[in-house]
Amino acid sequence: MKIKMLTAILFLCSIVGFSQEQKMSESEISSFKNAVNSTAKSTKTLTTYFTQYKHLDFLEKDIETSGKMNFKAPGSLQWEYLKPYKYSIVFKNNKIYINDAGKKSNIDNNKMFDKLNKLIVGSVNGNMFDDKEFTISYFKTKDFNITKLLPKDATLKKYIKQMELYFDKSSNTVSQVKMIESSNDFTKIVFKNKSINAKIDDSVFNN
């Protein structure tokens, strides 16, 4: 009985140990940054499916939406929500094109959207270690390298208190993004079925 208990405790400890975040050392940070930057540089296109969870503390369950994302270097980006509604937003040439279930509109890029765009593109290709914009800290778990970014810019701070990026250790690409608001409500986006450098037709970015 005692042995069983001991095994159970040890097992639990090992789980906690594995999932626990540890701070990266300086050398780990530098090799991680290099790996991500070289992956980002060689990423010409990226297509991935995503599921987005909007967490609001007062709700019974998170609001779940899902779709597909297309990115083409240097800066064309399309988010296409497919469930439970159809909505597509394209960031291209400093403009934002929206197709809301057939209703089309566009917005000139302003300061706020520009920052949001950079953040989104950066979070997709991992190229966002900008110390001028963020205070960045680095952590690791068994499966992930994690960066936590605190915005320095007052405009961005109003929207996001902290941004967390989870990088797959195997591929050095982002597999999860978490944007935390000052109220601690958050948006979590989980990427799956990533396809890197496959051909994407330019018409994808014509909303």
């Binding site: 909007k54 007062f58 709700l59 988010w79 909505y87 809301d100 509109s105 109003k158 948006t187």
Partner: protein, 211 residues
């Protein structure tokens, strides 16, 4: 004496015609009936266990915006209302309890008195739990309940066939200001809601998201 009475009568007559023509037309061709129940309780947004999540589109003076509208009854008297972009960024977060209105968060760009007041009035109307019925009207399809609210009037259109609340018209004594249309399959949850402003070009459409 007689000389002064005639102009007075003429003025009164024209004033009467003028006032009559200005009276709100909402229940113009309806027959007045006895009030059947003094209180009307709205069925929508009343279940504490439901997250009311809607995909919404807002059209204001020809410009279109989208987002997610979330309403939740957090206790017996209070509703929480949050509006986010499709990406999940919060644009505003309000709490409404009867006539009390609290702003938990609003984006600086939206934080204008005229916008906040308009949102406040629309959502208070949308979430109003019960109406005191002053008068009642009907035609072949609807029973219309008239309820007073300060200097304004609310007309509630209840379908005779389905007994569902299908429309709410908010008006002054002479003009309709806002109409809210509800499409509901089961009479407890509104699947589609259209809030239409009559004096400004503003229309809000909400479509329930089955999560």
């Amino acid at each position: 004496m007689q000389k002064s009475t005639i102009p007075f009568l003429i003025t009164s007559f024209f004033l009467l015609v003028l006032l009559n023509s200005c009276a709100v037309k909402t229940v113009k061709d309806f027959d007045k009936t006895a009030v059947s129940s003094e209180i009307f309780k709205t069925p929508y947004f009343s279940d504490k266990s439901i997250d009311y999540v809607y995909k919404s589109s807002i059209s204001v003076y020809g410009r279109d915006f989208g987002g997610i509208f979330i309403a939740k009854k957090i206790n017996d008297t209070t509703h929480r209302i949050v509006f986010t972009t499709e990406f999940g960024n919060k644009l505003f977060d309000f709490e409404i309890s009867g006539n009390e209105f609290k702003v938990n968060f609003i984006l600086e760009e939206l934080d204008r008195k005229i916008i906040v007041n308009m949102l406040k009035r629309d959502f208070m109307l949308l979430l109003k739990k019960e109406f005191v019925v002053e008068e009642q009207f009907e035609n072949d399809n609807f029973t219309i309940l008239k309820s007073l609210e300060n200097n304004r009037i609310n007309f509630l259109f209840v379908s005779k066939k389905s007994l569902k609340l299908e429309k709410l018209v908010h008006s002054t004594k002479s003009k309709e200001k806002i109409s809210i249309e509800y499409l509901s399959e089961n009479n407890t949850l509104a699947d589609k809601i259209i809030i239409d402003h009559k004096n400004i070009k503003l229309r809000i459409e909400l479509n329930y998201l089955k999560n």
